[in-house]
Amino acid sequence: MKVELNINNEKHTVEVEPRTSLLDCLRDKLLLTGAHAGCEHGVCGACTVLVDGTAVRSCLMFAVQADGYAITTIEGLSPGPGELSPLQDAFCETHGMQCGYCTPAMILAAHALLAKNASPTREQIVEAISGNLCRCTGYAQIVEAIALAAERIRGQNEPARR
C-alpha cells in the first residue's frame, strides 16, 4: 500500500505492506534509525515517536495508519546540523545515558512533557517516562537531565538578569 507520511516536517511517500509497523517503516524505508526496536510489542518504549506532539509507541501503530499526522522522530529535534536541542544537551551534561539504546525515546517522551508543562515536578517527570525502560542508568540522571532542560528552557523566555 502507498502511504504519505509527514515526518519531521517533510513529506514522504512510501510503499509498505499493511503489516509494516511505523517503526519498521521509519527505520527500513526512511533510514531514520533513531527510533529503536526493543520489544516490538509495546512494553519497552524504545520506539517512542511524537504523533501530533504526543508520545506514542511506533511499534504499536502500522505505517498505513500514520498518514495525516505530524510525526516527529529524534532526528527532527535538533535545531540545525551539528546542534543539539536543550534536552539533548542536558542529557549529555548530566550523563543521562549509558548504552544509549533508550535515549532517543526518553528525550522524545520528555520533549512531549515539556511542551505541555514547562515546570514539571519530579513526580510528573517520572510519570512521563514511566513507559520507557532503561536498564543501565537507574533513571536518576535521566530525571535530572529533564529537570535541567526544563529549567533552561524556562530561562530562555526570561530577560537576562543583571
Binding site: 499493511p18 509497523s21 516490538e40 504526543t54 511499534c59 504499536l60 501503530m61 517522551a109 513507559g131
Partner: protein
Amino acid sequence: MKPAPFEYSRPADIDEACALLAADDGARLIAGGQTLVPLMAMRLARPSRLIDIARIPGLSYIREEFAVRPRESGDPGPQATPDRAGLDSRLRGNERGRGFDSNGTGSVVAIGATTKQHVVEHDPLVRSKLPLLAKVMPYVGHGATRARGTVGGSLANGDPAAEIVLVAATLGATLTWRDGGKSSEIAAADFFLGPMVTALPLTACLAEARFPVWSERRVGVGFHEVNARQSDFAFVAAAAQVALDADGCCTRAAIGIGAAAAVPLRLDTVATDLQGKRFDEAKVREAVKAALADVETMADLHASAEYRRRVAATLAVRAIADAFAAAARRA
C-alpha cells in the same frame, strides 16, 4: 515486521465497517490497537483484515445528554443531535432505557467509542460529571498508550483488569453498538461475559458508552489498585462512588471490584447496606467480606485466588472510606 500478513481497510462510516466485518470471518476492528497490535506481534491474533475505525467521523466525542420524558411520536426531543439522528435506538425497557436514572431523570455523559483515552483523562466534563472515570484514567496503561487507545476499544476488549471496564460496570453504564444498520444497547452488567468475552455480536461495532451522572451535591469517589507498577495490569482493583446527605449519611452507593474474577463485580448488597448510614469501617468490612465470600476469584502467576479475595475486600473498604471522605469535603 512481526504480525502475519493482513489486508487493511478504512471505511467511511460505522455501517460500512460492520459490512466489512460481516463479509470476512477473520476480520477485526482496530481503533487504537494498543491491545490488538501486541497480540498480533506475538501472533496470538492473526486477523485476515484490519478494519480501521479510528478516523470515522462522529465516533469521537464527550457530551452530556439530559433525560426527557417520552414525547409524543414524531418529536425526536432535544437529545437527538445530528450524530444520533439516524440511530433508531432500541430501548431496553422504558424506564432504564438510554442509561438514565431508574426514574428516567438526570443526565448521562455519552462518550463516543473511538474517543482516545488521553482525551477522556484531561476532559473537564468528565472531571466534573464522572469523577470516578477521571480518577481511574491515569491507571489505564501508559501515557503513550492512552494517546492511541480508545474508550470503546477497552470496553470491547472486555479485560476484567481494565479500569474503564470496572467503571462502566460500577456506575452501570449503557453501551450502544451498531450491527447490520441497526443500533442496540445493553447494560454493562449484561455486556461483560468473561475474560475478553463480551455480548458484542461478531459483526457489530461498539458506538457509544453512556455513563450515568449522579446529580447529588455531595458525591465522592475512591479507587485503589494493586499492581506491579501503576501502568501494569491490575491484580485487584476496587472502585466506589457514594452520595451523602447533609448529615453525612449515605443516600446512594456503587461499589465495584476489578481483576479479581472473570468479569467486573458489583457489590450491590454492600451498596444497599450503606444506605442511610455513616461510614463504619468494621461494619463495611464485614459486609464486603460477606459479599465476596462466594465469588469465584481468579488465580494466576501473580496472585492466588485467596489473595485476590482478601485484597479485594481490603481495597473495597479503602475505596469506600475514600469516597465517604471525599463526599464529606463537599459542602
